[in-house]
């Protein structure tokens, strides 16, 4: 890894994003290295079809690249924005009549990731396994299946206020699992996940 790549690995998302907004393609590559695997994993979890997920991720990064000059990083982190784009696109592209496997379950284990999201990922997984069944299911239906509170209530035979309460409890549990005032995945020098580890 050269010096540029090493310093890019250390650079936070915000600094990286400023360069992306200015049209720096290498910065986009670093962001891709850092969050590409998570984006693809999210798209796969939502669509359950790898080819669809790949198109979703490619389109999401294209949208991020196009809209970068107008994005305000003070409103949300780059990571949250990117995941929001990927999730929205994945839900829209999700094929009908395809079985979507469960994501959040007691059987979840740390997947050995070593990228910038590793610390958060492991802490998050530990928190997820502490959620009770209804909380985890409500969380899954909302985030990975794109169901509204009303749809979840119908699915789980609960009232909407009960679903809102379940979701609140679940999110608060997750929130407590990540470092306070620092919920953004941080860059890790030389890691950046799968991409930087791959020769190119």
């Amino acid at each position: 890894m050269n010096l540029d790549a090493a310093s890019a690995g250390l650079e936070g998302d915000d600094g990286l994003f400023a360069r992306i907004a200015a049209g720096d393609q290498r910065a986009l590559g670093v962001l891709c290295d850092r969050h590409g695997a998570t984006s693809y994993a999210l798209a796969c979890a939502v669509t359950a079809v790898p080819s669809v997920a790949e198109a979703v991720v490619a389109d999401s990064f294209a949208q991020l690249w196009r809209e970068a000059p107008t994005f305000d990083p003070k409103r949300m982190s780059v990571f949250a924005w990117l995941m929001s784009i990927v999730r929205t696109r994945a839900l829209a592209a999700r094929p009908r009549d395809v079985a979507i496997p469960r994501v959040l379950s007691k059987e979840m284990r740390a997947d050995g990731r070593t990228d910038g999201g590793a610390v958060h990922s492991n802490a998050l997984l530990q928190a997820v396994v502490t959620l009770d069944g209804p909380q985890a299911l409500a969380l899954e239906l909302a985030f990975f299946r794109g169901m509204t509170k009303r749809q979840i209530a119908s699915e789980l035979q609960l009232t909407e206020s009960m679903v809102a309460h379940l979701l609140r409890r679940a999110v608060e549990t997750l929130r407590a699992s990540v470092p306070r005032n620092n919920v953004r995945p941080s860059p890790t020098a030389g890691a950046g996940g799968v991409f930087l580890d791959s020769p190119r």
């Binding site: 590409g36 994993a41 490619a58 690249w65 809209e67 998050l124 997984l125 999110v171 929130r175 990540v178």
Partner: protein
């Protein structure tokens, strides 16, 4: 909506689980409540971390995907970097040899026909659904561009290397929509560290920058950009293109490479 009501709905909002009217209620509240805004933003950040709980994927596929991401993303960048509000466009197609309204209309027609034929040839299911969505987005963008060409108050300037020379770029100005539509063809890509810059020329006054642009390997460029501050410039006689250092110059540093006079499109 009270603070307590917002607190109860905030997690559902962050997870995208509210109906549109409920979202509007939440957003209406945080518009005027800084504390709730901060709380909502924090929950949205937490919700985004759920992506990290998705099962790990095949590293080989991720690695292959990187090339596609870079090609797709950077291939669709708006050409006028100097204008922050530039409207993103779909990837360019080869039929845009000259960006006249007639060819724009033809482009739209062929896009529909080709899209329909392609869709018929594909198997049913996910790929068809995705293709339909992508085609719809592409057509919506084309439609938006077409309407900008066909408005009742449109001026155009054809830019060439000199009188009686074939045009190599055109700029359409839609008064109603306050937009420039910039097209270039047969303009070689700018050398490293350089960019093309578009200028509004006014008699007896300094030129005004309309933005910078770059062409692709085939010498083409296409974008819609807002008129912005230049609308205050008053009457513009001509338009010119120069080659400038990357990022553009406050004033032209060379004689125009391309130039033309504005005229009305009837």
């Amino acid at each position: 909506m009270t603070h307590d009501e917002l607190r109860e709905q905030a997690a559902a909002y962050a997870l995208g689980a509210l109906a549109p009217w409920e979202r509007a209620d939440v957003e209406g509240h945080v518009e005027a409540c800084t504390a709730c805004r901060a709380e909502l933003d924090a929950l949205c950040e937490v919700a985004s971390l759920l992506a990290l709980s998705a099962p790990a994927v095949d590293p080989a596929r991720v690695s292959a995907l990187r090339s596609r991401i870079m090609a797709d993303a950077t291939g669709g960048r708006p050409i006028l970097r100097a204008s922050a509000g530039a409207v993103p466009l779909p990837p360019k197609r080869s039929m845009w040899t000259e960006a006249t309204p007639w060819l724009a209309a033809a482009s739209l027609f062929f896009a529909v026909v080709a899209g329909a034929g392609w869709i018929e040839a594909r198997s049913e299911g996910a790929q068809v659904a995705l293709a339909l969505k992508q085609t719809a987005v592409t057509l919506a963008a084309r439609d938006s561009m077409l309407s900008a060409f066909l408005g009742p108050m449109v001026h155009v300037v054809s830019l060439s290397e000199g009188e009686n020379q074939a045009p190599r770029a055109r700029v359409f100005w839609n008064h109603t929509r306050k937009e420039f539509i910039v097209t270039a063809f047969n303009v070689p890509p700018a050398p490293g560290g350089k960019t093309y810059q578009l200028w509004a020329i006014r008699t007896g006054k300094p030129p005004i920058s309309m933005g910078t642009f770059d062409t692709d390997a085939s010498g083409r460029a296409l974008a819609i950009v807002p008129v912005g501050d230049i609308a205050e410039a008053g009457f513009i006689d001509n338009c010119a293109v120069t080659l400038e250092p990357a990022g553009g110059s406050p004033q032209p540093t060379e004689a125009p490479r391309l130039m033309g006079a504005w005229r009305h499109v009837d």
